[in-house]
């Protein structure tokens, strides 16, 4: 997802490919006006890239911009700019980082200003903040804004009702598609959509293979820190493209090779470490101190074998969902409805329990994000439930996504160390007892 934090020791073909894709996309965005392309801003969860591609619209994701800025240590001042403009300290920092970026000329990572969007596609999926975020952007850009309300899977059942699906499809047909047609001047062609969806499904198969490779011991990937890179193309502006298909093909090959060699995950420092603890992680990572944070794990031999964050932009492994060229709009609707944070807590909890078991993890770590009520409200109960159902210890740390003020390294390290020592001590005495 990000060019700067790319592991620099080992340069696999997939990494180079991704780097190139990202750079290409930023160029496309910043040069959109010259290229005669239209830009849509939209969110990662519920992002309708395949649909946007049908209209030749380029996809700009403010969340990704915010995290990019955080990784480049630029988000802090942006957030403060937004707070100066009257935004509260208490609210999601993604929004504030975005607004702050805007006030600083919206400079993309390639150094060029990002043009204003032509349309705001408000896919209101799994997060309340999205709604306010785009209302705020609309105030600024005064461009057409189309709301796609994706109802929450609220009732404890792992089930999408026909009413929800119909509602989303109807909005796609009668609100989203007409607006996009109008903005782009391109007529909607469902066959084009089917083509894109076919590509999506192919890439999704490979992505799932990659994520599930963590079931190996040692795991060849880190499904949280490393996972962030692996999910990048699928979650952003590339789902449905040939490029993404190619990227995942390469990635799959490389990981198959690691498994063969019995290698662990690639880390920013390149070296292979001994896998001592296998963890499942719930909650997004911290972006401002991403490397420092990751290091706290691999230094102590902790590997993340599964994470829910790698499901925010679509859950493909858990219940086998794929975009479906034969049911284009239905599958877009089901995709939106099925995003991780659009699922209710009992379901999220069960998912964690299943991950713990399927990936033979030693414990669950919750990284609770101050910004994100969607993720965070309820995590403490989820932690308890998972502990009770799996008998494995859990731990809880608190950071923020893009606000550097909320990353307290000493504190987090203290907790992680205590947690690892706890797993170790348990394991030893467990061995003695057995």
């Amino acid at each position: 997802m990000n060019t700067e934090t790319k592991p620099d020791v080992v340069k696999d073909a997939s990494m180079l490919k991704q780097k190139e894709m990202i750079a290409g996309n930023f160029d496309k965005l910043t040069d959109a006006k010259e290229l005669g392309l239209k830009i849509s801003s939209t969110f990662v969860p519920g992002n309708l890239n395949e649909l946007l591609m049908c209209f030749g619209i380029v996809n700009n994701l403010p969340e990704i911009n915010a995290l990019n800025n955080a990784m480049r240590k630029q988000s802090g001042p942006m957030i403060q700019d937004a707070e100066k403009m009257g935004h509260s300290e208490d609210v999601c920092t993604y929004v504030k980082a975005d607004i702050g970026m805007m006030s600083r000329g919206n400079i993309a990572p390639n150094g060029k200003p990002m043009p204003d969007p032509d349309v705001l596609l408000l896919s209101y999926t799994g997060c309340y903040t999205f709604l306010k975020w785009f209302e705020l952007l609309r105030e600024q850009y005064k461009c057409p804004t189309v709301m796609l309300h994706v109802p929450y899977q609220g009732d404890g059942k792992a089930e999408i009702t026909q009413n929800m699906r119909d509602y989303v499809i109807k909005q796609l047909k009668e609100e989203v598609i007409p607006t996009l047609e109008q903005v782009s001047g391109v007529k909607f062609d469902i066959d084009r959509l089917r083509e894109n969806l076919k590509n999506s499904a192919k890439a999704e198969d490979d992505l799932v293979w990659v994520l599930e490779s963590a079931k190996n011991k040692p795991s060849p990937i880190d499904a949280y820190f490393g996972g962030v890179y692996y999910i990048g193309p699928i979650f952003t502006a590339f789902r449905g493209t040939e490029d993404a298909v190619e990227y995942y093909r390469l990635l799959k090959g490389e990981i198959a090779e690691r498994i063969k060699q019995g290698l662990g995950p690639v880390t920013p420092e390149g070296e292979v470490f001994e896998e001592k603890y296998r963890l499942v992680v719930e909650g997004p990572p911290n972006w401002t101190n991403f490397r420092e944070f990751w290091k706290m794990f691999y230094e102590d031999g902790a590997v993340v074998v599964a994470s829910t964050y790698s499901k925010v932009g679509g859950v493909y492994d858990y219940d086998g969902f794929r975009h479906d060229p034969d049911h284009p709009l239905e599958s877009l609707a089901d995709y939106c409805l099925g995003c991780y944070t659009n699922r209710n807590l009992p379901e999220r909890t069960q998912m964690l329990v299943d991950y713990m078991e399927d990936y033979q993890a030693d414990g669950l770590l919750v990284n609770s994000i101050k910004s994100c009520n969607s993720f965070s409200a309820g995590q403490l109960l989820m932690l308890r439930e998972v502990e009770a159902r799996t008998g494995k210890p859990g731990a809880f740390i608190e950071t923020d996504l893009v606000d550097p003020r909320y990353f307290s390294p000493a504190n987090i390290k203290n907790r992680l160390e205590s947690y690892f020592q706890m797993i170790e001590q348990k394991r030893q005495s467990g061995a003695v007892a057995a």
Binding site: V95, Y128, E135, M147, N163, D166, Q171, E175, L345, G378
Partner: protein, 388 residues
């Protein structure tokens, strides 16, 4: 009935954290059921039509000591869900047969899942309202949503909800809303006669009393207050905005008035008046309820505003309508809907040159000094400078 007596009754209801009056209602007849709901909006008509008592749950206030609630929530989440969980864990809500969690924000949304995990035997429902305001899209979704609620409550109550039940309930609530509007109207006309804390308590009583009793109470109150000898003070007129979900401690509302501000409108307990016009009582009732929400409901932060042109205008409109001199934004700490909405509202106020101040609270805020300080300064400045 004298005002004191009515208010005292309201206070008792307000302070009673084990909801004895509701328990008594339930026990009065076998088979009675109570359905709790969180802010802001659920269609009370349907609960009423099912013969059940809707119980508004607005957190634990400042009298509840929260011990277990904090075990479920991080420090950066507002307080209402933790005190609500505390009410649940301490069995204060053990008589509640169903709980509805409306779509106001991610915190309440997730609370529905927490409730399911913690109290698997309670009928728990996340209640979604549409963000698409076309009758044929959002409206249709909502009608189906309501239908699911109806059948859920039918299962819970073990009896069908008939058309007549629904019609009667709609009429009862239409009357209730008319009286709520009267109270608000009266207060904005003669705020010295109706202190904000009294209106608050009166509206709060509506969260626990059967609607018919509450309507009667409002009638009694208005009749009684006309005769009260309360003198007008040299206060300024303000609107309080942002407290639609977690409620401020009563002391805070009093502090605002003590510091020299008459509150002439607010967004406390909006459920009492969210629907601004009578709901049509003939025809397809679910459709009527749906149409009322889609076409005649007040703006609030969790509702998408499809028209960018009027984004944030609603507050300034209320200021004008109520003849207020300023706005006090009083939002709960960490309340995303209120806090994200605020800059947009403030922009419109700026445009229209309406002064405002903003502070945050928690339902258990203890120190009123900073509140008085801010409200006082605001009042000082309106008073000392309004003529200039």
């Amino acid at each position: 009935m004298p005002v004191q007596e009515i208010i005292q009754r309201c206070e008792e209801l307000f302070e009673d954290l084990s909801f004895s009056s509701v328990r008594a209602w339930k026990e009065a007849e076998p088979g009675r059921k109570v359905v709790g709901y969180m802010p802001i909006y659920v269609p009370l008509e349907i609960i009423h039509a099912a013969g059940m008592l809707p119980l508004g749950i607005l957190g634990g206030g400042d009298a509840l000591e929260v011990i277990h609630g904090d075990a479920y929530y991080q420090s950066y989440i507002c307080r209402i869900p933790r005190s609500t969980v505390e009410l649940g864990v301490t069995k204060r809500l053990d008589f509640v047969d169903g709980m509805l969690f409306p779509s106001i924000c991610d915190v309440i949304r997730n609370l529905s899942g927490i409730w399911k995990l913690m109290f698997p035997d309670v009928y728990t429902r996340y209640f979604d309202t549409p963000q698409n305001f076309r009758s044929d899209i959002g409206g249709e979704f909502y009608v189906n949503d309501l239908r699911e609620l109806v059948s859920g409550l039918e299962n819970l109550g073990g009896r069908k909800i008939s058309d007549d039940d629904l019609r009667a309930s709609i009429e009862v609530y239409n009357e209730s809303r008319r009286w709520v509007r009267k109270v608000y109207q009266f207060r904005s006309e003669q705020p010295w006669k109706v202190p904000a804390s009294e209106v608050y308590l009166l509206m709060r009583a509506g969260q626990t009393l059967p609607v018919e009793d509450h309507t009667q109470m409002m009638k009694d109150y208005l009749a009684a207050v006309e005769n009260e000898d309360r003198r007008m003070k040299d206060n300024c007129r303000v609107i309080v905005n942002g407290s639609f979900c977690e409620q401020p401690p009563l002391g805070l509302i009093k502090s605002i008035e003590l510091a020299g501000c008459y509150i002439v409108d607010d967004d406390y307990m909006m459920i009492n008046r969210l629907i601004t016009e009578d709901v049509e009582s003939e025809g397809d009732h679910l459709l009527n309820l749906s149409e009322a929400f889609i076409k005649h409901s007040m703006a609030f932060p969790s509702k998408f505003e499809p028209n960018g042109e009027v984004q944030g205008h609603y507050l300034a409109d209320i200021v004008k309508q109520r003849g207020a001199e300023g706005v006090i934004f009083a939002a709960p700490s960490f309340c995303d809907p209120a806090l994200l909405d605020q800059p947009m509202l403030a922009n419109v106020l700026d445009e229209r040159k309406i002064p405002y101040i903003a502070f945050q609270f928690a339902e258990n805020s203890g120190q009123m000094q900073p509140i008085r300080e801010q409200a006082g300064t605001f009042a000082d400045s309106i008073k000392l400078w309004s003529a200039a």
